[in-house]
Symmetry: C2
Subunit: 333 residues, 2 copies
């Protein structure tokens, strides 16, 4: 578990998109973001107070989070200076980069000397059990997608916000590095060893109050041949009571697989439900979340209405319209 609150390190971000981890924290856990630290030439801005390490420390920040993706996977010498200074100032460091903080000799040495922790959230730190398939108390909702990167994390976080506003008991359960950095905890599922995938999801979503909802971050897609095993483990380890279908209507082929076309929402619904019933016969598909960012307002509305009538399920773009109808549907489960 990563100590909060955070100082968000934006480095020399070449553009706003490269700072999507920082943006995620800013959007979904603003209470964790004390301020931002930007280097010369930084092209990203979270609209947070710019702070020195000293100022952030005084304001209560405990961890410097690398909120930016670096170029070429290298942790640059310019970054290093800031990261070392942060350790010496008493911050832990947290990163989801492919290149690990712990593999940088200088960072590892300073962390040891100062007694600070380096959190590489891509690397599991827990010995997960093998799944035992026992039913657990409490309720679970999982977002499944027609493809990778269609808005599954965003959907779950938007539902969490809406449910908290309604006073419902709920927890977003992160299964990827961005989600883990946003919430400070979770399972880096794509880095878990095959035999323990489903068990790690059971571990992440333990027994809870009967009226509590875990909102499990989805990964991959049942129809994406590179990652479908990970999605399968989420469905069988998560034992969802409710599924949300996620889709991006303008995509021309599966992400990274030019020869594979996307399945229909109906095909996703039928397959996901059939698989979910192995672990939980009561599971239902309750709604559709569509990422309409690439569509004009009118076209998006028309598409959503068409999906609603075709599938008989509420269909929304939670970014444009909020997650209200999805939460309404969940309340009826």
């Amino acid at each position: 578990m990563i100590q909060t609150p955070y100082l968000l390190f934006l480095g020399d971000a070449p553009d706003p998109l490269s700072a999507k981890v920082a943006q995620g924290i800013r959007d979904w856990r603003p209470e964790f973001a004390v301020g931002q630290l930007r280097m010369e030439g930084c092209k990203a801005d979270m609209g947070l107070p710019d702070m020195t390490l000293e100022q952030a420390k005084a304001a209560g920040a405990r961890t410097l989070v690398v909120g930016v993706a670096n170029r070429g996977g290298v942790i640059s010498p310019a970054w290093k200076k800031v990261l070392v200074a942060a350790l010496e100032e008493g911050f832990d460091l947290a990163s989801g980069l492919h290149n690990l903080l712990r593999d940088e000799e200088d960072l590892a040495a300073v962390a040891r000397a100062t007694g600070r922790t380096l959190h590489d959230v891509r690397v599991p730190t827990v010995r997960y059990p093998i799944a035992d398939g026992r039913p657990r108390a409490g309720k679970r909702c999982l977002a499944v997608g027609t493809d990778c990167s269609v808005g599954k994390m965003y959907t779950a976080l938007a539902m969490e916000r809406e449910m908290r506003e309604r006073g419902m008991k709920t927890t977003f359960r992160a299964t990827g590095q961005t989600g883990i950095l946003i919430t400070g905890e979770g399972v880096p599922l794509d880095a878990v060893i095959a035999d323990f995938m489903a068990g790690s999801v059971e571990w992440l979503t333990p027994d809870n109050d009967p009226d509590h909802w875990d909102l499990i971050e989805g990964q991959g897609s049942l129809f994406h041949v590179s990652y479908s095993g990970v999605t399968m483990a989420l469905i069988h380890g998560g034992q969802p009571d409710a599924l949300i279908l996620c889709h991006e209507p303008t995509r021309e082929h599966m992400r990274g697989l030019p020869e594979y076309s996307l399945p229909s929402l109906e095909a996703l619904r039928d397959l996901a439900l059939q698989l979910a019933h192995v672990a939980n016969t009561g599971c239902k598909v309750v709604g559709v979340s569509v990422n309409t960012a690439a569509m004009a307002e009118d076209a998006a509305d028309a598409y959503l209405r068409e999906v609603e009538s075709r599938l008989g399920l509420p269909a929304v773009d939670p970014f444009r319209h909020g997650a209200g109808p999805l939460v309404d549907a969940l309340e009826k489960v």
Copy 2:
């Protein structure tokens, strides 16, 4: 790749069952088994010449394979003496035990000093790629089961033998530790990191002659919630042209999951085929392999005939009757 041929180490095996790795090598790669090394009290016998390390070396053996499962996972001091002597005699060591050879300080030190290799086949040694889903030349057959441990490996090995006898081009592709020890190579799929599972199966079954069959060892079951993600990766990474359904009719619940009942063969056929079509639209279910070990001859025959008429597919127990009808079916694909 493990150097062959082998000397099979049976240690102080408490019973024949505990030596199932050695038995697998003896049954399926007898040409790899120069002899056996048994300690006092050993209750297993492969019917091979008993040899000292010196005799086996003289007979050409290059690797001492731990062919027995130890009690409690510990590599006993009595074993150690033999294993160290084997390294000093010039043998590599190979093991599929949970406790790794490399984690034993004395074995690691002697291996370093003598320049020998310790093969812990549970641990991947390759950096597998992420699956790219591209079609590959050659044909592939995958065994899928209604449950774990229903005879998938046995089925593929029996088919390989039959196909070689008929002069067909074929390779058994091991995906578990026993299979890897039998053939000397493969992917320990249950120990691969989630993101690389399907890619490791693509790596294992590369482009080949158009009339060559890879017989991919199955793992887990789509209906076994602990391991279904591994099975999914085999189906999507393997891109099978043919599926064999494997079943054990007397099992009362899914292995290790008392609350889960087995699916019907029809449910397995429909689900596996649907998933296989995502990666290979031409995939067909071609036969059924039934483990009838717990049934009398008459009951087994009646069961197989009933399955054949119900599913319209050849159904055999390859242990009792050979894999001929399954290979006949494959020849028609």
